[in-house]
Subunit: 212 residues, 2 copies
DNA sequence: CAATGTATTATACGCTCGACTAACCGGTCA
DNA sequence: TGACCGGTTAGTCGAGCGTATAATACATTG
């Protein structure tokens, strides 16, 4: 038989509570890790009755799934917006990309993202979604880094796009994991070194079209 | 008042059960994640009464702490043994280092390590230990990679040791995290690219002393 | 063999979990 | 007015948790 909550019309109050619950789930992921995201904790943090979690979402897993979806959409949009900005050079975009994980209001994203990833390690259904998410982000990087490689006139044999993208995604993830473990040694040196390399490429860039 | 279990002499049976419990804790970390490591689950997996967890270790946290200690000691020894082997070139060591996470019997290490790290994100006491652990591993890398840089005659300004070590630790961690999320794209290309680079350095190595 | 003290087991306690549901509340419409 | 109904609340359920302790098995000693 059909579950009533699935087809019921969405009232404004319900919309507010739903958003509050997902906000609370993110906050608890950040503050306590995924083990701290329980029905009652999430309801209390959202200021709603704990029965509503089941009433609105059907299960805890569904709440988490929708929270994940909303979170990665937000993340992808921010990333797309950054790299799509035509007023910035690639070097500037890279610099802002590094800042992204540190500056407000997105400084909580690393913890939330990694908690979601860690959940996925032991929940095949969630992991499958996260694998898709990763592909989506990889696609963004591939597109914009491929463009940058061409703009910089880099030899595609010497610096294959796959290698660049693989290095960027994995080492960024690694930096985040180390940061969450209170490990920061060598990070600034590494980031500065990469920035200098990219700035150097930018300085010797093949001019394509005159701008400004 | 003094807790009896702290000062009691260790019998052989107790030693066996203690090891079995830590083995079981590692296995559960691998199979179910840290949320699956409960008193009863760990005791059942070890084939001992669940009361013994408290009797032997005093608390669940202490069992986990000792399991962490044993695990990282094992990991550090394996890594030290690999890099200390005088019959191998650095390029060969690097190749074996990459295989280490994939081959038996150490292929379960990445999951166990990352589960422990994830636990630490929300347990300050554990995180502090993990920060130390990371420093220990970073020290190993610094020593052997510094040696390799000198052997290869690489310019220390162009490739600072801190940058190399920072890149190696973070990108390895990132590869592991991606692997746990069923993401493998670009990994082989990246690893092959690095291996070719190191092999190239090895081929043009400054001879120091004749060997073999 | 009996007595003793420790190692181990079985059970109990107080608590929280996710899931579920009966009861209630306030607005709507006959 | 009063029956109705969806949204919300409060409370229950069985399970499992970490911890603690009573009860038992067992080895050792006299």
């Amino acid at each position: 038989m059909a579950r009533a909550w699935e087809e019921r019309q969405v009232t404004e109050a319900r919309q507010l509570a739903t958003v509050a619950l997902m906000d609370a789930a993110e906050r608890l992921l950040y503050e306590a890790g995924y083990a701290g995201v329980t029905t009652r904790a999430v309801a209390e943090a959202a200021g709603v009755n704990h029965g509503l979690v089941h009433y609105y979402f059907g299960s805890m897993e569904e709440l988490l799934t929708q929270t994940l979806q909303r979170f990665v959409d937000q993340l992808a949009e921010a990333l797309e917006a950054l790299y799509a900005d035509p007023t910035l050079t690639f070097a500037e975009k890279w610099r802002l990309g590094a800042q992204f994980w540190v500056d407000e209001p997105t400084s909580r994203f690393p913890k939330i993202l990694l908690e979601l990833l860690a959940m996925g390690w032991n929940m095949p259904a969630l992991r499958a979604r996260l694998t898709e998410v990763h592909a989506r982000f990889r696609g963004i990087f591939e597109h914009h880094f491929g463009q940058a490689l061409r703009d910089y006139g880099l030899d595609q044999d010497e610096f294959p796009l796959k290698v660049i993208v693989g290095a960027v995604t994995s080492f960024q993830l690694g930096l985040i994991v180390e940061g969450l473990s209170s490990v920061h040694e060598n990070h600034q040196e590494l980031l500065d070194w990469i920035q200098r390399w990219i700035d150097g490429l930018e300085a010797h860039r093949q001019p394509r079209a005159p701008d400004g």
